[in-house]
Subunit: 297 residues, 4 copies
């Protein structure tokens, strides 16, 4: 069993750390919120007084933070963690951040001989708890192989997207497409219903035709069409509008750096931004259908 | 075996009529293009000198025409075919046209006691030849049951979308979503490639993640990712840009009538319109990726 | 003084007819709403029992109707008015309708020797009452010259856009651009305010810089920036969201016929459609800023 | 006369510095490109061997750099210029950069007692040479008053937009709106021409109607409508597509930080991005009309 330093114990990081403890690993944990640490300590983790203390003597460092600036300021700079991580330790950053930020940290790590992978996840808090997350990994194949035993305790699918930062790129490319297909599916269903169709009948037809996609198969946004989806529970739980907005923002940032055309992606971003502005940021992102469909349907 | 009057023998109608002949039906065929008639006559159909003659004494009338105005002017008005169709004959219009036009003709038929269904198809010329089309049907369930034996000779899947016009609505809702997911998939792949990813690796990741859709599964637009798709053959064959443009235009028309919001759908329409304006109207619609991706990839 | 048959006495047609009466012309008026006729009769017009009666013996026919289908069914067909208009009478259609519909009616008129112009207006009900409308005219120059004395009694500016239908095309091109600049100005102001700027200061800067347009000069959408605009009166009066939506719909229809790319125009159309769906169809179109700006500004 | 340290002597900075020399000021100049320094030295400036040397003993520091990262790395950090600027000197940054970057540098300056304004310009290289630029200023009113005599030597219009960073916000809000009205005007003209109108006639009508804007008045994109605009010279000169793209990118960046909705702004950004991808990045931004209009017009 290994000694793991785990930093960032929020809705995602908390249950991920718990699954590593269950698998028999020893964890030293740190978060800016003391109560988040307390939960893990109860489960058997060692409390660290700082990020620096959390990585002392560990085999693996895992971080799960909200945004690029948090990851950059954790690892880099004068007081950065890179200076305190043991020489042979592997760094696994599971945060979803800008690919450019991932690359910057990975290069800084490599320049002092440390190996790092970016391993953003999908699957939400449900997947984090159940240990069924998907990891999309960027970095060297050898580093991924070293990380695999740990990732397998927290998730089910592991993809190798390419070099440093590639995990981030693949994740936001996927999530941008998801954001587009969700809003596009909402438009298609609303158009059908406004023209007299039954949403279940139309959903069934589409899901067996060329318009079919992950949304029509597993995550239909129209209330009453599927059980066990956010649309069946008032759009509670699931993947929040503001999280989708964050990922579409990362996509836009990447597109601007690479001079890419993502006209649909940026229009989708604005649709979720409008939906959020109108007070729906915490609802599941499939609630975008409420903005699009006629008020009386 | 039945006597069928078949009107409209183009790239789709021709092979559909042939499949009915192969199944043992007797066909009286008409088209404005004499050579199209000649092909069918060689296969055993009876030549009709006019649409009126084609429907004399038949059990079933099938039409397959390019656009709303053709269907309206075939069936309606002073010289309209409805006045010449035998009282017990069933009308099956397989054209993809505006739902409002379908409803107008169906109502006119019904007002004189004739039954009609709208049964637009998907599956392209390949499906028409192979007899594996999908029919999306609007009209009464009884009329669909009468039509089913004929449809089954020309296609594989038959969906009942609802009342008159519902077949058209469901088809354009599906195809609008397809137009969006194709262009969205192209954007996602181009974004990934511009940021250093391999298109096959990224396609594989997406097709096993939440961004997956019919395009990533069966019709990848990026050259070299899949065999046996238009992208592998210089975008020849398949479903043309101008046909996608037509369907997105029908979606826009329906949206305007029903005051629906289809922001992504209309943006996609403009993307294909631009692609067509730049000289690509006859290429398969997956060639939209060429407009989006960097010139050197 | 001339005898004029005036058909369509709504919010626009009513005051336009009154201005012709004030100028000394004799009017025979018809509308489907009897009370609309009554108002004009009180002002000195002759009541007609039908459109046919309204045009008997007149020098000029003026129509002001809501949409393409009304104009087509008024003039065309078996019972159409063209058959009843005196041989030397001039037809002035002031309705805003599809250019294709205008051309169709104009051609039918011409085929029996009648001259017709399309003369859609801008300026709203205020301009109709004040007699300060703008007419954008399609048709032959001679026909416009015959119409000019009448148009000058109802409006201030008269533009000759080209042949039959050109008045419609020019009007919707202008109004599409207006719809875009209004929504674009709203986005620019909201972006500035969300980033700490004062809306009046920013409006002033833009109106003296390269972003300036008719909206920033005369019709600022942000409350408190200008007096005497709809934004100063809770967006009452002015040019309604649903009217802008109608004109953007006509633009989309024309674009589809001519295979034109109007990506911004159709996105704007969807923005006003969404705003209307959310219950704001009757407000002035500058209220689109409410959909875009942060809730607390 | 004052001693001015001028850093950044490109297409804009070079002529701006020359106008200050002509006005009698003494300049110490620095640029990474030696030949750019040489030009100014010929005009009477003192050559500085480094940015640090350029600001030694000066009354005013003026910088004109390409992007946020250049401004941040010039002024901030261990080796940053702020540590070398004389205590009473005023800093004028004329670069167009992210408002957030402007604020960051201004705060750092203020924290050590230095006054700074952001003063991005519009007017292009022509305006820089002629001394007719527009400055949009963010910062304290007093600092602007100190800067005014220098700005007046380089430009004609000076706007005070608000506090630190406000100059950047106002400039990108204006330029985003300009990017939208240019592309929107191109769509409106192309729609009109595709429907039979003469581009000059339509331009004239719009420029006297509610669709009018700076583009229709002074910078018509359609070839043959106006003299002395880029459209009359093959779109050479003027304001490049890639520069518009940069400003729309800054607008998108600001919108993402402030959770603003700029659906039209981001669609316009993608239209210019596509136009640039297709090889037109160096042409004037009014060349966007070439992407939109039919090939044969």
């Amino acid at each position: 069993m290994s000694m793991i330093g785990f930093i960032g114990l929020g809705n995602m990081g908390g249950p991920m750390a718990q699954n590593l403890i269950k698998a028999g690993h020893m964890l030293k944990v740190f978060d800016l919120v003391p109560s988040a640490i307390a939960v893990l300590v109860k489960d058997g983790a060692q409390q660290a007084a700082s990020a620096e203390q959390a990585v002392a003597g560990v085999d693996v460092v895992i971080s799960m933070l909200p945004a690029s600036q948090h990851v950059e300021s954790l690892y880099l700079g004068e007081a950065g963690l890179l200076k305190h991580i043991p020489p042979n330790a592997l760094i696994i950053d599971c945060s979803t951040i800008a690919a450019s930020a991932s690359r910057k940290v990975a290069q800084a790590a490599e320049s002092i001989g440390l190996h790092m992978i970016d391993a953003p996840v999908s699957g939400g808090t449900g997947g984090a708890i159940a240990g069924t997350l998907t990891f999309i990994v960027g970095g060297q194949a050898q580093a991924l192989e070293r990380a695999r035993p740990y990732l397998e305790k927290m998730g089910k699918n592991i993809f190798h997207a390419g070099d440093a930062g590639a995990g981030q790129v693949a994740k936001i490319a996927n999530n941008m497409l998801l954001g587009i297909t969700m809003a596009g599916t909402a438009e298609a269903l609303a158009l059908g219903v406004a023209n007299g169709l039954d949403p279940s009948v139309l959903s069934d037809i589409i899901s067996r035709s060329s318009g079919r996609n992950w949304v029509t198969e597993l995550y239909n946004p129209w209330p009453g069409v599927m059980d066990n989806v956010p649309a069946a529970k008032g759009y509670a739980g699931g993947f929040g509008v503001d999280l989708m907005l964050k990922d579409l923002g990362l996509a836009a940032e990447a597109a601007m750096r690479s001079h890419s055309v993502i006209a649909l992606g940026e229009l989708a971003r604005n649709m979720y931004a409008l939906h959020s502005t109108q007070g729906n940021g915490k609802l599941d992102f499939s609630s975008i259908v409420n903005m699009i469909k006629p008020a009386d349907k």
